[in-house]
Symmetry: C2
Subunit: 212 residues, 2 copies
């Protein structure tokens, strides 16, 4: 397998965590978003959307981290990242979707560049924008975690799930945008529990070959 | 089952389509986003994130349309909205995620309100913003549809899947933002094929009890 990734991309980060949790090795192919490598014909021939990550396996290219991570779960079911019970599964997928749909897409590189270009946003305005969406999503996640009395150290149950795979890169990004995390003690505790696991540590942006 | 929905919400629209395709009836509970009913304590007690849609069943509340639709697929497998083959499944989920992660969340009501409030965006600027993200996503979807030689009238294969469930509400929204759809003949053809099906027609915003 080949993993097309940018060290600081949150969606690449979540896929790296999922691959590590499944015990899978993939050759790391860096795609430098800073030099717009993702928009060049060579990469768009692999992924017409021109976004990372992408995962190549057996001559096929999978795109979109939510689709790739569900594919990993289907093709490499152990250890499971989703509970068996459909209601519990919906709970985990909802936590993941709060990050995957309602936080990350609004704060990623291409959006912030457009805010700067179309609306003349300066760094302070960009940080206000990011803090507002991260705050709204984290507030919901914190409330959902607080309501789950059966929960251990992670977002659900006693082992990492899809929800942790999505949450940890978003916490990393929140720190980069200097978001105050003090209102979210449960999220911070989950992040700390994950940071104790090798699969999460090895997936961190700073550990990637293209970090810098 | 109770469906908490706003007629014009794209995520509510996609869940209505999925329910109809599965042949399920749910009591329609309108949540008026225009009067901020979704932010009131009564609704936030159901969904701490304060967003529609939500689906109540047997005393439980499911949130986040991607999680609810996967739950529907698991608990009501017929007719299937996902192919059995994991690679094909990843293709369908990727098409859905292009809409669900990279188009819809950036153009929904709360984002556009923030653009107006934080950056003084007028209607023309809002339409440029929407057209830019819808265009980027539709260009990728059009390329993926064109590359799939085994495809019939829908996004994948010969029957509606998750990809159509996500795409049709986004086409509806694109029309509302006056996006030129002429560069996307394959997307338009899929939209027309879906519009011939009762499940899609009954889910349309104009057909809902709170439309107006």
């Amino acid at each position: 397998m080949k993993l097309y990734s940018f060290f600081r991309s949150g969606t690449s980060h979540r896929l790296r965590i999922a691959l590590n949790l499944k015990g899978l090795d993939a050759d790391y192919v860096p795609v430098d978003l800073r030099t717009e490598e993702h928009l060049r014909p060579a990469f768009k021939a692999l992924n017409p959307q021109g976004l990372v990550p992408a995962l190549e396996h057996g001559g096929r290219v999978l795109i979109q981290s939510p689709a790739i991570i569900e594919w990993l779960e289907e093709t490499h079911p152990e250890p499971p990242l989703l509970p068996r019970d459909p209601d519990e599964c919906a709970r985990v997928r909802a936590l993941a979707a709060i990050v995957g749909c309602d936080i990350h897409p609004i704060n990623n590189r291409r959006i912030l560049e457009t805010l700067r270009r179309q609306f003349g946003a300066d760094e302070a305005a960009v940080n206000v924008w990011c803090a507002s969406w991260i705050g709204a999503g984290f507030e919901a996640i914190e409330a959902l975690l607080a309501a789950d009395k059966a929960r251990g150290d992670f977002c659900f149950g006693h082992a990492p799930t899809l929800a942790d795979v999505y949450l940890v890169p978003q916490v990393e990004s929140a720190r980069r945008f200097k978001v105050d995390l003090s209102p979210y003690p449960l999220i911070r505790a989950v992040d700390e529990a994950c940071a104790r696991l090798d699969a999460f540590r090895r997936a961190a942006p700073a550990q990637q070959p293209d970090a810098g």
